[in-house]
């Protein structure tokens, strides 16, 4: 079992410092510079500065079951031009192991280039693709643009909603993000509109280099619907160790937002060096009655993952969902889960969390289900399963359940199990290789989550899991 190939993540990228990059360090002048380079209005700058002042007074949280080397917040450069030139001239210069992983995932050549930071030739014209998409979105009245653009073009909407779901006082990393956010995505779905396409295909190609302090805001007006997909199954190159994104979702009456994430950032080498620290604040606000927010995440990358996509179920009959697969292997650590805050009557939430720990990986589910006194007939069901592969890994489950209403029904179940020898033998006796057997069993374990992903992505996610866990079974 030990002899299976280890699927190491490619490392050792060449970094060229661009001229349009601020020197490391953070103070007010840095924030002023960021704001002025982005040609932001005064109110945006003020928001940033207020967040910065607040952040200065805050302590980095330490309650999660993760250990990492201290982050030097003054050792980070907080601005570099978003339109970096490709740093490599051809795929020949890319780490062959990275290419091998792309091969295994079946990623088209041009996409491989984009992901690896190679100049893209004329065949692959992302600009024209983007234009086509934009046209059909514009026809539907959907706004889909970068956050920087939104701040300039749609200031009223941004001002009305930004920071209302995740205020800068929310937590240490949210405050930092609010002060220095680089760029991100803005989506606005007008009343009654069903977004004509998954906001994903476009994004998969263009997401590269949105920076380390992403800021996303999605607003779904009354009766509208949108499905948004971020990330990519392919491991993405990135020189920034710290990622602290903030995602805010607002669903008004009868609106539905589906937000899917596939995160496969660099996890660090075998000694745990150099992986991404991913500290994300994601929250959805079901503001309107019958609104619906669904989070689906497949987390396989990063050295440290700290994220709790949450739902505030304010509206009557609102629905919150959280489906998660988190894989940790090698020295990866994940502390992830969700919060479901039931405020509205008849609000319902479902949590399905599947944690897979392999080798020395550590995986923690941390979740809060709170039923406020006014949340009549609130319902929650939580299923939290851990799968252990190898005897040095760790799986933790920390659910918090707070109920203040006697009509609430809350159920929480958690199990821990391993890929059993019996199961492996059975599959192998029927002719499957051990790798296939493991991947089949693991996909079975994760099925409830994968079925929530957009179709073509579910297939990729399965492959991703198989590639991620190669060499982990032993």
């Amino acid at each position: 079992m030990e002899t299976l190939i280890r699927s190491d993540y490619a490392e050792g990228f060449v970094t060229q410092i661009e001229s349009d990059t601020l020197p490391p360090g953070l103070d007010e002048s840095v924030i002023r510079t960021i704001s002025s380079r982005k040609q932001e209005p005064e109110w945006m700058l003020e928001k940033r500065l207020a967040a910065y002042q607040y952040w200065l007074k805050m302590q980095e949280p330490n309650w999660a079951t993760i250990r990492h080397t201290p982050i030097d917040f003054n050792g980070i450069s907080y601005y570099s031009s978003p339109k970096k030139k490709p740093q490599l001239d051809s795929l020949d210069e890319v780490d062959p192991e990275l290419l091998a992983t792309y091969e295994k995932l079946g990623i088209p050549l041009d996409e491989q280039k984009a992901l690896a930071g190679v100049a893209v030739d004329a065949v692959f014209d992302s600009v024209s693709v983007a234009t086509t998409f934009r046209e059909s979105l514009a026809e539907a009245g959907v706004i889909f643009c970068s956050m920087s653009e939104a701040v300039r073009e749609y200031p009223a909407l941004v001002q009305q909603y930004m920071g209302t779901v995740v205020p800068h006082k929310d937590n240490f990393f949210a405050a930092l993000n609010s002060a220095v956010f680089s760029d991100g995505t803005f989506v606005y779905i007008p009343r009654g509109v069903k977004c004509p396409m998954e906001l994903s295909t476009y994004f998969r190609i263009n997401e590269v280099n949105t920076g380390q302090f992403e800021r996303t805001l999605i607003i779904a007006e009354e009766g509208s619907q949108v499905s948004y997909l971020e990330g990519c199954t392919a491991p993405m190159r990135d020189e920034n160790q710290l990622h602290a994104a903030v995602v805010e979702l607002v669903a008004l009456e009868d609106a539905k937002i589906k937000y899917s994430t596939v995160q496969n950032w660099y996890p660090g080498d075998n000694q745990g060096r150099g992986g991404i620290y991913n500290f994300v604040t994601k929250r959805g606000d079901c503001r309107g009655d019958r609104s619906h927010i669904s989070w689906t995440q497949v987390e396989t990358g990063s050295a440290v993952t700290w994220k709790y996509p949450s739902c505030i179920l304010r509206g009557k009959n609102s629905v919150g969902e959280f489906y998660s697969v988190a894989v940790t292997k090698g020295l990866q650590q994940a502390d992830t889960g969700t919060k479901m805050i039931h405020i509205g009557e008849n609000s319902r939430s479902t949590i399905v969390s599947k944690g897979i720990s392999a080798m020395q990986g550590s995986n923690a589910y941390r979740g809060l289900v709170r039923v406020a006194a006014k949340a009549e007939n609130a319902r929650n069901h939580t299923q939290c399963d851990s799968l252990l592969i190898g005897d040095q890994c760790a799986a933790h489950t920390f659910p918090y359940i707070e109920v203040k209403n006697p009509t609430a029904r809350v159920e929480h179940e958690a199990t821990t199990s391993k890929v059993s020898e019996d199961q492996l033998f059975y599959c192998r006796q029927r002719g499957l290789t051990e790798e296939n057997a493991v991947s089949m069993i693991i996909n079975g374990f994760c099925k409830e989550v994968f079925k929530e992903l957009p179709m073509e992505f579910a297939v990729e996610a399965q492959k991703l899991l198989a590639v991620s866990l190669e060499g982990a079974v032993g």
């Binding site: 192998r428 002719g431 499957l432 996909n443 994760c446």
Partner: protein, 250 residues
């Protein structure tokens, strides 16, 4: 086809098999009987390549190659099939997908093309009908929540689909009522052919009423203490295992 010479094996330092000798030729059906703890299931597991057993002595040749050198799935590829006493549950793994993946793995190993979806479906439906397995169960997770009888039917279905050269049935009759037993046996009988051998491991004679063996071997304390024709099974039924064990001890 299969030649076992002086096979000795242990689990956790405890000797279970103490010198098994057995020759199986194509087209034959061998029944291995014996009391609980005699080593019947161990023999079945070792032949199919289950971990956890230490072979301390002896050889097993299968079509001339050393079977014990092969990985579990390589044995499956070369036509060894084990119908288990306690079929394993695979939560979340679709029964049909599992079967198809297995079939294709074996076909691939044999250098054959993958089966196309249409003929696969047709074959599965046909076979499921033969073993009276509810088609709904094909769409569920492998064995998860199946009744004892359903699991055994599913095993036979897999056997029919994978078309092994050497099929080993480990206590396939345990936990089956008479109707299920008959169905399972009918399925097995359909597979009898001049180029295929069967080893039927069982505690009771009743399965052999339906799957008629060419040879019956009695296993006790890890040895074959008596071999004979199908009449030996009837004799055992009548007299129990003790008369043989006493005889062996004397």
């Amino acid at each position: 086809m299969l030649s076992i010479k002086n096979l000795c094996a242990s689990v956790d330092g405890k000797a279970i098999l103490n010198g098994i000798n057995l020759e199986v030729y194509a087209g034959e059906v061998h029944a291995i009987m014996g009391p609980n703890g005699s080593g019947k299931s161990t023999l079945a597991h070792i032949l199919s390549g289950r971990d956890g057993y230490t072979v301390s002595d002896g050889e097993v040749h299968y079509f001339g190659q050393n079977l014990l050198d092969l990985e579990t799935e390589e044995r499956a590829h070369s036509g060894v099939f084990l119908a288990m006493q306690y079929p394993v549950e695979l939560p979340g793994v679709n029964n049909m997908t599992f079967l198809r993946e297995s079939m294709n793995a074996i076909r691939k190993a044999r250098g054959e093309a993958e089966i196309d979806a249409v003929s696969f479906m047709k074959q599965v439906r046909h076979r499921a009908k033969q073993v009276k397995l509810d088609e709904k169960l094909l769409k569920r997770s492998v064995n998860a929540g199946f009744s004892g009888g359903e699991k055994k039917r599913n095993e036979i279905l897999q056997m029919m689909m994978l078309e092994p050269q050497l099929a080993i049935l480990d206590e396939t009759d345990s936990g089956l009522d008479i109707d299920a037993l008959r169905t399972v046996a009918d399925g097995v009988n359909l597979l009898r052919s001049p180029d295929r051998a069967l080893i039927v491991v069982t505690h009771y004679q009743r399965l052999l009423d339906y799957i008629e063996p060419d040879f019956v071997h009695v296993l006790a304390s890890g040895r074959i203490i008596r071999s004979g024709g199908k009449e030996l099974a009837l004799e055992l039924e009548e007299k129990g295992y003790e008369w043989l064990q006493e005889g062996a001890a004397a």
